[in-house]
């Protein structure tokens, strides 16, 4: 299925090899694209990753189960909680621990809040990539209000380390629910504004409609998941299809598009932010305020998880995020594999979609796929 575009003869002088990144403002994070251009049209693209490779999967093999809990959140920097939840979930499943219901509600809220924060940052990125820096200023600030909530709830802005196997690390602070509602109201107002200045903006519309189309038949070979897939018309969402946490307790809609181009993908995400706010409001209404939030663990200093293997996935902002854990009954994991959506979106898919686009649109295209390099290379 992978075939280079038309044979490229660099010595002909017709083509130019151009590196975009890793030090480049038009790249989402620290990765690079090796573009071959003809005029300002891209005729071939090769992705280079690994600039952020830290070897998490190896590091995790020599840390105990509780120690790993601190490290997983660093795998996807802007969205740590999905890692925390999934790691907790795989360990809980293999060690037969069940988190209390209150913890499950808090986790649901945590994940949705993170999704909103992550989408806000992405929204700023989309704005910036198409010349709308105001949106970047606004959304990152509103994301900061969300980080304030995280700070209050978990004790840290970025790396929360809050969802621990067995539950969560603390109850919600006094008066947290009210402040959370206020932040959500603010974000909702912001989204209305963004809809007016970005999604109804003629420049944005012109540039993004028809850019980087994902057709339905690309979904399976390229393993496309999440909003990128839903924008192509598939109503597939892990939260709906294999419900986890409290997602089958709350009401929300799976947003789908028709033709997955850059505009459509952005639109789907915008609507999902509204759905996220809707979910969070329900969670705040229904979350129990008493009862345990942690199931006691065995002594974590020499915690042995029985032999087994499992795979658990969750719907993160970019699609299917999953942890595959293999244990051998010792204090250490035998193997952990982190399945991140950026892996498939940013490499194989990006290489295909970049072909035929304009150099100026590469940045916007990358942003529209919403990928995180640290999660690709781990």
């Amino acid at each position: 299925m992978f075939e280079p575009a038309a044979p490229v003869d660099l010595s002909s002088g017709k083509y130019l090899k151009l590196w975009q990144g890793p030090q480049h403002p038009g790249i989402t994070g620290n990765m690079s694209l090796e573009l071959t251009t003809c005029g300002d049209e891209v005729v071939a693209c090769k992705t280079h990753v690994g600039y952020l490779h830290r070897g998490f999967e190896k590091l995790m093999e020599r840390r105990t189960f509780i120690q790993n809990f601190t490290i997983v959140c660093r795998i996807a920097v802007p969205e740590p909680t999905f890692n925390e939840y999934l790691y907790a979930a795989v360990v809980e499943e293999l060690s037969g621990i069940k988190a209390p219901e209150r913890a499950e509600w808090i986790r649901t809220f945590n994940l949705e809040l993170m999704r909103l924060g992550s989408y806000l940052m992405w929204l700023g990125g989309v704005g910036a990539a198409f010349g709308q820096s105001t949106i970047y200023q606004w959304t990152v600030t509103h994301r900061d209000y969300i980080l304030d909530l995280f700070e209050e709830m978990t004790g840290a802005r970025v790396y929360h380390m809050y969802i621990v196997p067995g539950g969560v690390r603390g109850r919600l602070p006094e008066g947290f629910e009210d402040r959370a509602r206020k932040v959500l109201d603010g974000v909702e107002r912001l989204l209305m504004d963004v809809e007016k200045i970005l999604f109804n903006n003629v420049v944005f519309k012109t540039r993004t409609k028809g850019l980087g189309v994902i057709t339905k038949d690309m979904v399976d070979p390229y393993g496309i998941t999440g909003p990128n897939q839903r924008a192509a018309g598939f109503a597939r969402d892990v939260r709906r299809d294999s419900p986890y946490l409290m997602y089958d307790e709350v009401e929300w809609d799976v947003i789908t598009g028709t033709a997955s181009d850059t505009y459509e993908r952005a639109w789907v995400r915008l609507q999902e932010m509204h759905q996220g706010i809707r979910i969070m409001r329900q969670v705040l209404d229904r979350m129990p305020t008493g009862g345990p939030f942690q199931t006691p663990l065995p002594n974590v200093l020499h915690w042995e998880v029985p032999k087994g293997e499992t795979y658990i996935k969750a719907e993160c902002t970019r699609g299917e995020y999953g942890y595959y854990l293999v244990t051998d009954g010792s204090q250490y994991v035998r193997r952990v594999h982190v399945r991140g959506p950026s892996y498939t979106h940013a490499i194989a898919l990006m290489e295909k979609m970049a072909v035929g686009t304009n150099i100026a649109d590469i940045a916007g295209l990358m942003v529209s796929l919403h990928t995180y390099p640290p999660e690709i290379e781990r």
């Binding site: 690994g50 952020l52 070897g55 020599r62 600030t141 900061d144 970025v158």
Partner: protein
């Protein structure tokens, strides 16, 4: 004790294939000499301190807190800080946490391309002593072995407020004329190069990428 750079001879560019060596400069970096009149130097330092242009190279996870720093809520622009897309225009290199070997090579390249006077600020714990990734096979543990560092900001993540505090501290240091990292790089160029080449195994670039 400043070694005479010209006495050390031209750079060999041995990492490059022989046919490419001539294509690149073999000159060594040169020391920055302050203005002979002290008042002028002081004034120039004041100017430099108040227009810090950051190189927008998100080298590690610390980059995630630069977004808030540069946007409305914290608004570092008011302190004379702004991000620049290219090393040629930038004067401050923020090392955003851990540096993988692959990125380190690009960091060195970008750093050497920056125009002097230039300053390096390290965010987070990883450049100090390995941090989270102290036992990783792909991240360096002590950043100051590879490039001269002017300031360290500890934290994981350092919050935007600390980054701001760091910027203020850097300003102070520049105004006092103590931010001499670039000169240390020149003076100990061979030592830095040896350290760099010890970890970067495919050195397919010139020895000095100015």
């Amino acid at each position: 004790m400043k070694p005479n750079q010209s006495a050390l001879g031209p750079l060999m560019n041995e990492g490059l294939p022989p046919e490419d060596r001539d294509l690149f400069s073999n000159a060594r970096p040169v020391l920055y000499e302050p203005y002979p009149v002290e008042v002028v130097e002081k004034f120039v330092n004041w100017v430099r301190a108040n227009s810090l242009w950051l190189l927008a190279f998100g080298t590690g996870c610390g980059a995630v807190e630069i977004n808030p720093l540069m946007t409305a809520r914290y608004d570092a622009y008011r302190m004379g800080v702004q991000t620049r897309p290219t090393p040629r225009q930038a004067s401050v290199f923020l090392i955003g946490g851990y540096a993988s070997v692959k990125t380190l090579k690009r960091i060195i390249r970008s750093y050497e391309q920056m125009q002097g006077p230039k300053f390096v600020v390290c965010l987070g714990i990883c450049p100090i002593n390995g941090g989270m990734y102290w036992d990783s096979y792909n991240t360096v543990n002590q950043f100051d072995l590879y490039l001269p560092v002017d300031l360290y900001i500890t934290g994981c993540m350092p919050r935007p407020e600390v980054l701001m505090a760091g910027v203020l501290e850097l300003k102070k240091k520049i105004m006092e004329g103590r931010a001499d990292g670039a000169n240390r790089y020149v003076e100990n160029f061979d030592w830095y190069k040896a350290n760099q080449k010890r970890v970067i195994k495919n050195w397919n670039m010139p020895d000095y990428n100015w």
